[in-house]
Symmetry: C2
Subunit: 454 residues, 2 copies
């Protein structure tokens, strides 16, 4: 039986970054990565396969950086793990033993088996699998009417991309009253939903799918609750993902109420030699410490870096406990990003907050060509002004500005501190120095706090 110091199950972002970091920190350790398919995909790039990239291969991702550092990789699904004996078995029959085992098994799309017709031909999912997506990409080429169910990031982004093909009619069905409603505030969800409509997506919100309609086992449309049927040559369900933890569960690891492997701050399960990172591992909200549903490659890779460094003893203290969801997207040319608290997740967790926003443009003077609007919104504690969340939308720089807000949340920065925050500005790159939108939003927040405290 071949023995490795470390075995990583999974070759997505969490698995690769764990492997790369571990090999860099512990070059003398033998590390094996076990994957299910020979080729991998950049997960967040999947929607862009359908139009911007117009290619599956251009979105391929593999463990080359890990191999270059001396890591071993095999393609052979793990079918069983023996925690006590520190061994595992793969589909081809081989056994391996390990000193440390890392689950980086990711997540799988939720299959709506409760909807009649969910198993018809031409019903698809956005699986993070090269072979599956390659097949989907090919099969969608000649489909005209496409219905996407689920207006979260993946569903909405796939819809926006497919709608760029002028020969396709793309409908998006969302059960909530707005798309992106889990990650964005009401205000930003509204803007995002409107952008989808401007991108020629036929958006149906507050709408439930009752049945997937078919003839001879093939999709012909969807039946909506209280609305007219929609014709469909293909239906794509994008109604969420669940942690891929069947092997872990079978091996006896503790699983939380959302199906993720329970781990500590350093990604270790109750057995220190069994770890889990990424979508398959437990995520705790930064404010409440409750277990959360956040499944983001950016979060997964942060966890993987922490694990990779600390695999054989804690070397680097984690700077920040809990996970902030930091989401961003671009729909119809409008960049939108959110971090941490907004009025929806605040209500869910019963967190008091106030919000404040400020709008301007992303160049100065605004008469420069290529200038876009830019808005920043902050969510903060009414007690001490600590920043708990934020949103930025408008030009592309929103995608990096949200990371300044993210750092502010992680460092407990208050809106008062932002009054003396120094920033760099330039006509061709940023808002004017007289009104950096994050600082101006903080100024609005301070005025609100003073009114509150009167």
């Amino acid at each position: 039986m071949k023995k490795y110091d470390v075995i990583i199950i999974g070759a997505g972002p969490a698995g690769i970054i764990t492997g790369v970091t571990a090999k860099k920190q512990y070059p003398e350790k033998s590390v094996l990565m076990i994957r299910e398919e020979d080729k991998g995909l950049v997960p967040c790039g999947i929607p862009y396969i359908f139009y911007n990239l117009n290619s599956v291969e251009k979105n391929a991702m593999g463990p080359k950086p890990f191999i270059d550092l001396g890591g071993d990789v095999i393609t052979d699904p793990v079918i069983d793990v023996n925690v006590k004996e520190k061994t595992l078995k793969v589909e081809s029959g081989a056994d391996f033993s390990f000193e440390k085992l890392v689950f980086a098994t990711g997540s799988r799309p939720v299959i709506p088996s409760f909807i009649p017709g969910y198993d018809l031909k031409n019903v698809y999912y956005i699986k993070k699998s090269y072979n599956y997506i390659n097949n989907l990409f090919n099969e969608l080429q000649d489909k005209k009417n496409i219905v996407i169910v689920g207006g979260g990031f993946i569903g909405a982004e796939v819809a926006e991309q497919l709608a760029m093909h002028t020969d396709k009619k793309v409908s998006l069905i969302e059960s909530e009253d707005l798309c992106f409603s889990k990650a964005f505030s009401n205000e930003l969800s509204e803007i995002a939903t409107e952008q989808l409509r401007k991108a020629n997506v036929d958006v149906h919100t507050s709408t439930l799918v009752e049945e997937v309609l078919g003839e001879n086992g093939v999709v012909t449309g969807v039946k909506l609750k209280g609305k007219n049927d929609i014709k469909a040559d293909a239906v794509i369900f994008a109604i969420g993902y669940k942690p891929n933890t069947e092997i872990a569960k079978k091996a006896g690891l503790q699983i939380n109420r959302v199906g993720a492997i329970i781990v500590d701050n350093y990604e270790r399960s109750s057995e220190h030699y069994i770890c889990a990172v990424g979508d398959c591992s437990q995520t705790l909200g930064f404010l409440t410490g409750r277990c959360d549903y956040i499944m983001l490659a950016s979060t997964a890779t942060a966890e993987a870096r922490v694990l990779g460094y600390n695999l054989f003893g804690i070397k680097i203290k984690k700077g920040f406990s809990g996970t902030i969801g930091i989401f961003s997207t671009e729909i119809n040319g409008l960049a939108m990003a959110a971090a941490g608290l907004n009025e929806k997740n605040a209500k869910f967790a019963n967190v008091e907050f106030i919000s404040a926003k400020f709008s301007d443009v992303d160049r100065h003077p605004g008469t420069l060509k290529g200038t876009s609007p830019l808005t920043a919104k902050l969510y903060l504690s009414p007690s001490d002004g600590t920043i708990l969340g934020g949103e930025v939308w408008g030009g592309k720089s929103a995608g990096e500005m949200i990371n300044t807000i993210g750092l502010a949340i992680q460092k407990g920065v208050t809106v008062y501190e932002l009054m003396s925050l120094q920033v760099g500005t330039h006509p061709l790159l940023t808002t004017a120095p007289t009104k950096p939108v994050i600082i101006k939003a903080a100024e609005v927040a301070i005025s609100k706090l003073r009114t509150l405290n009167k």
Copy 2:
């Protein structure tokens, strides 16, 4: 004699933001702003007047937001301040009295009176004056050979813009061995200088101007030390600015060795009722507390916000003492930004440091259209890994990413903390979640630190 609660001398970014903040915080107070010209300019937008905007008017800026809040404005240069009596006199002869006085008098270009011929016709400066720049803009229209002296931000940006006019031949003379050498590291200065050459600017580094040549009192060229003369129809000196503090000096205020008004953390001179903000006020480096030459609109407005809030008593504690220079620019389509320490200012102040960098691209996968290279470089203390400086260059997002580094410097973040930093990523907006360049640079830094400590 008309009395005001607050009088602000100057209507640049520092003056306007002081006025706006003060009127918002103290709406009951009467505030007068005194300016020298009816129209103002966005200072950092001045280079873009010459090509991108191709208009002076499009770069105009005025105190409208201040007037909208009830502020008064007059155009009438101040000629004398009486600190003891709390009065001042303007050119037209009127006198005003004040409870608080704010100097926001900015800076003036350095005039090289030590260079023969500096006073010939068609020798210009980049004065922050609407009328002056308007005249320069008009007079440059028919000038073919333009020599710019000084390869700092203003000189280099004006050179890049003028060189976009295919009928002009633009030369840039820099005494140091690279352009941008005060703000950027050697590595980035080299890249920036190369970008200027690619933009068709004829760059002469390590070159001194010995004389401005002329015939009949009009510029015909420049004589360079040890090099051939260059023909010139116009010469623009951009060799720095000095604080505009003659009135303050005459009034008896304390002036530091670089000519700026000495103020405390809250922008107050030794007399609490006399304040100064922006280029005319003292700036202390964030690390050393030494007085510095940093003159940036972004720094000026941060000071102005602090002053505006605290004008009648300190309401908001300043979060951070000292000034970090955060500079950014774009030359020939390459965005470049720097914050805080680099190897040059570190050497000057005898600060120990190590640096580390990481390069990737600003989209993911990198096969997406519109993808640009992106590099982050960090400078940190070898003792504890605290981030003291950084640079980012490549795509436009560099302009906002430097502000995340800026916040990290201000909050004393270490490279170790960056290992668990959570960021948001998106294919169309950022680097991949597997390699955010700032975090990866921190990882490289940690490896260097470990080698050092062995």
